[in-house]
């Protein structure tokens, strides 16, 4: 219960902090929505030349984009600090979270919000609701799948950020791995052949962020859904375990900072 209060308190606080600069806030949301829309332009052109790609049509790609955008948006809005984990570790800034009674991992994850993430979130939701037929009926499933996608991408960010406990300066590596997850999740997993496909179900689990939930929405299968929930739980557990393991190696930076 305490953890929910912590999360909701931070979300409210971060949102209000963002709204202090209202112009920048709305510009970021609007910019991100246009940004995403223009990525869809590519697919539109592609499907003009090739109507189907290994069973994927434009409508399936729109489902894929909606889920990834809402899931990723949710992840960076609520857990916006995950992308800074590696730099927090190397600069010794974890001390602040360790000295407080709240769970340090959850606390550090929620203490920042990506404002442009709202743009991803609303883009995905609007795309889903207004472009796809029977969208309203499947809305609860869509939201559940997006939530799972978001949790997997957060867990992945924690895992890649935690590499800094062992490797030292590895912000670039963590950023590249996060980018790889996002990039690969925006393409149908069926276009990739053996080795790469296996990679996308394991080391860079992009298939579980994009293609698997998208397939579930258009062609529901209870066992695949159960599998996706299991993968999310496993990823979450693994991320939490690796972070705690890393904490044992963590050395304080003795950094004196003032937090407002």
């Amino acid at each position: 219960m305490k953890i929910w209060r912590l999360i909701s308190g931070y979300v409210r606080h971060n949102f209000m902090a963002g709204m202090a600069y209202r112009g920048a806030f709305f510009l970021q949301i609007f910019g991100m929505m246009i940004n995403n829309l223009m990525l869809l332009f590519f697919w539109n052109m592609m499907f003009l030349s090739f109507p189907t790609l290994n069973g994927w049509e434009l409508q399936d790609i729109i489902v894929l984009y909606s889920i990834v955008a809402v899931g990723f948006g949710f992840s960076v809005v609520i857990f916006g600090n995950a992308s800074r984990l590696a730099s927090l570790i190397t600069s010794g800034e974890l001390d602040y979270y360790l000295a407080l009674p709240a769970d340090p991992l959850v606390h550090l994850l929620v203490s920042r919000m990506s404002l442009s993430g709202w743009g991803d979130f609303f883009f995905g939701l609007l795309l889903y609701l207004f472009v796809l037929p029977s969208a309203w009926r499947n809305l609860p499933l869509f939201l559940l799948l997006s939530l799972l996608a978001g949790l997997i991408s957060t867990a992945f960010a924690v895992l890649t950020g935690s590499l800094a406990f062992w490797l030292g300066e590895s912000e670039q590596l963590a950023a590249q791995l996060r980018m790889a997850l996002l990039n690969f999740s925006l393409y149908p997993v069926d276009i990739f052949s053996g080795g790469v496909r296996l990679l996308l179900y394991t080391i860079i689990p992009a298939a579980f962020v994009g293609s698997v939930p998208a397939k579930l929405l258009t062609d529901f299968d209870i066992w695949w859904l159960a599998g996706l929930i299991l993968v999310t739980a496993l990823m979450g557990g693994l991320a939490s375990w690796v972070f705690r393991l890393g904490l044992r190696r963590y050395e304080s930076g003795n950094l004196v900072t003032v937090r407002g």
Binding site: M45, L48, F50, A175
Partner: protein, 263 residues
């Protein structure tokens, strides 16, 4: 006068080279991009049973993407530095230098791009060669690519400085950059050669500067043609002139707007 800016560019290039480990990680972006697109285009050509699309064979499309991405991954991010300097007020210190601030930023930006461009080019050549098993292009094509890519990076640096200076008016310039970047991705021809677009869009795109940054160099490499090259270079020079003029005007406006309160 020019030697000062060349010195700035050289220092920026050496600084990039000093942090080559970071450069190396960045080049992974190229590998990821090419893995995705090689898979995508191979599937597309295979499924449709086509041997060419809008005059491009599979190998040509992949080489085109590799070359376009080489330029794209070497583009400037000076808007970040400029907008932060504007927001923090440290731009005042930069103004005290005996150099024009916009030209200083352009020189720094080109200096930063040069080592990244060389590394990206080497990675692209390697990845595309492994991915396609075919060498596409020619020596004149490569020379034309180097010329047009250089001009493309200058054009892009002008855009980046202009976007950075917008920080004098708007609080956050990142959304503007993202839109500019996606214009390069789409009608700039990064993801798809312009010939694949519907005719009306091709015509519109050809008048805009974005295709001069991604499409022109990549096209010069895979399908070298003197007439096309001359048209491309002329277009690049015209837009470099136009954007330089806009930058000059914008900088005059900025100087009127800037208030320095001691420090």
């Amino acid at each position: 006068m020019l030697t000062r800016y060349l010195f700035v560019a050289r220092v920026a290039a050496r600084r990039q080279w000093f942090y080559r480990r970071e450069l190396f990680w960045r080049s992974i972006s190229m590998i990821l991009f090419m893995v995705v697109f090689i898979a995508l285009w191979k599937t597309a050509y295979q499924v449709s049973g086509r041997s060419e699309l809008a005059g491009y064979s599979l190998a040509q499309v992949i080489w085109y993407l590799g070359m376009a991405e080489t330029v794209m991954l070497s583009t400037s991010r000076s808007f970040v530095e400029i907008s932060e300097a504007v927001k923090s007020g440290s731009v005042a210190y930069e103004l005290a230098r005996p150099l024009s601030y916009p030209l200083l930023q352009l020189a720094r930006s080109l200096g930063n791009s040069a080592p990244r461009f060389l590394l990206n080019l080497m990675v692209a050549l390697l990845v595309v060669l492994l991915g396609t098993g075919q060498l596409v292009g020619s020596v004149p094509g490569l020379l034309a690519f180097l010329l047009t890519a250089g001009l493309a990076l200058l054009l892009d640096a002008l855009f980046a400085v202009l976007i950075g200076l917008l920080a004098f008016w708007i609080e956050e310039v990142m959304p503007v950059y993202l839109i500019y970047q996606k214009l390069l991705f789409s009608i700039g021809g990064l993801f798809l050669p312009l010939e694949i677009f519907p005719l009306w869009l091709q015509r519109a795109a050809k008048w805009l500067p974005f295709q001069l940054i991604a499409y022109t160099p990549a096209r010069a490499y895979v399908a070298f043609d003197v007439g096309e090259l001359v048209r491309g270079v002329m277009g690049q020079l015209v837009y470099i002139g136009v954007l330089s003029g806009v930058l000059w005007l914008l900088w005059r406006l900025v100087q009127r707007r800037l208030v320095v309160h001691g420090g």
